[in-house]
Symmetry: C2
Subunit: 208 residues, 2 copies
């Protein structure tokens, strides 16, 4: 049996990394912080990872896996209409702004700010995570565009990346202002932009 319990210590370490890095950032994270939270000693940590940077890359990849599963199982995918799926995605992003700030903010958005100049490996892993998620969103946007805004001049890819930028920026504001309220407001603006783009504007309903 259990040919691959695969020692869940590694996953415990990665889970610990997600929370520590989102609290303190990558540089301020100490290897011992991770070990403490995972109830492991340093010897164990260095058995599973080559070093701190290697761990950060693994954390970004683990983040990509867990978040893509999380979004893949989200309810908005059930809508038949692609625009409903897109707007459902935005509603979902807003709805999950719950709990403490480290709980709802983005690991890779935090980490890339610290490591983009000093660690190409970390930067690439963060970029892959953000761009990969954006590409998923872009799929629904592309189909919705064909249906509702076929002649618009923007591309689905750039709109999906813009969406990620808004969300990342919302997290920065949430951190500065100590709460998710402003983040939700900025996603509201993004939703209004989407409504305009997909021609639910010009009916007079959106503007008072």
């Amino acid at each position: 049996m259990n040919a691959r319990p695969k020692s869940d210590a590694r996953e415990q370490l990665l889970k610990a990394g997600l929370s520590v890095i989102r609290e303190k950032g990558y540089s301020a994270m100490r290897v011992e912080d991770i070990c403490d939270r995972a109830s492991l000693t340093k010897g164990g940590f260095f058995h599973h990872f080559k070093g701190k940077e290697d761990f950060a890359v693994a954390s970004a990849n683990y983040w990509s896996e867990t978040t893509s599963q999380f979004f893949a199982s989200a309810p908005y995918h059930q809508h038949a209409d692609p625009l409903d799926r897109v707007m459902g995605y935005l509603d979902f992003r807003e709805a999950i702004l719950k709990g403490s700030i480290p709980e709802f903010t983005c690991l890779v958005g935090t980490m890339v700010q610290e490591a983009y100049e000093t660690s190409p490996a970390i930067r690439d892993a963060c970029d892959a995570s953000i761009s990969g998620h954006a590409a998923e969103v872009a799929k629904d946007i592309a189909v919705a565009k064909l249906l509702y805004a076929p002649d618009a001049e923007w591309t689905p890819e750039s709109l999906a990346l813009h969406t990620q930028a808004v969300i990342q920026g919302a997290f920065i504001l949430a951190k500065a202002k100590q709460g998710p309220e402003i983040a939700a407001e900025t996603i509201d603006h993004l939703k209004r932009y989407f409504e305009y783009l997909f021609k639910r504007n010009c009916t007079g309903s959106a503007i008072a």
Copy 2:
């Protein structure tokens, strides 16, 4: 003579801080990095600042001063029409995405991500910087709204903060993707949103 050169060493230190923190972040910044770039020794550093955290707060405040002067002297203020000033601001934000990434990205947006949990003093200084700048932008937005969208349901304050969120998020994408191009694209989306909000839409011109 020169009763108060006021020792420009302090300002040299602060200037060094702006570049080092934008390159490596706050935690990875070493006091000696600052000293090296300012051609000073550690003794000199600790003469001017109580410690690293105190320096970070001073850096955020220095950033607020220099950027507010920079934006105050920008050409877009000369427009008579408030909406022209608002759109000019966005054009200006896009136009200054030049040079290397540490040169055009935001000090306080970077720093608050690292320090929001661990240093209330730094967080507050970063928040004051972002919110203060947003408040300046909100002034023109408020006047433009009265003229062009008086009944719209959004507030000038929330739109100004949304604008800062987009810009901060654009910086994160620029860091992940190693260049300003995506940042410019996301500001293009923001400009399109503003055109919609201020009723330059509904003419069919924006959408092919």
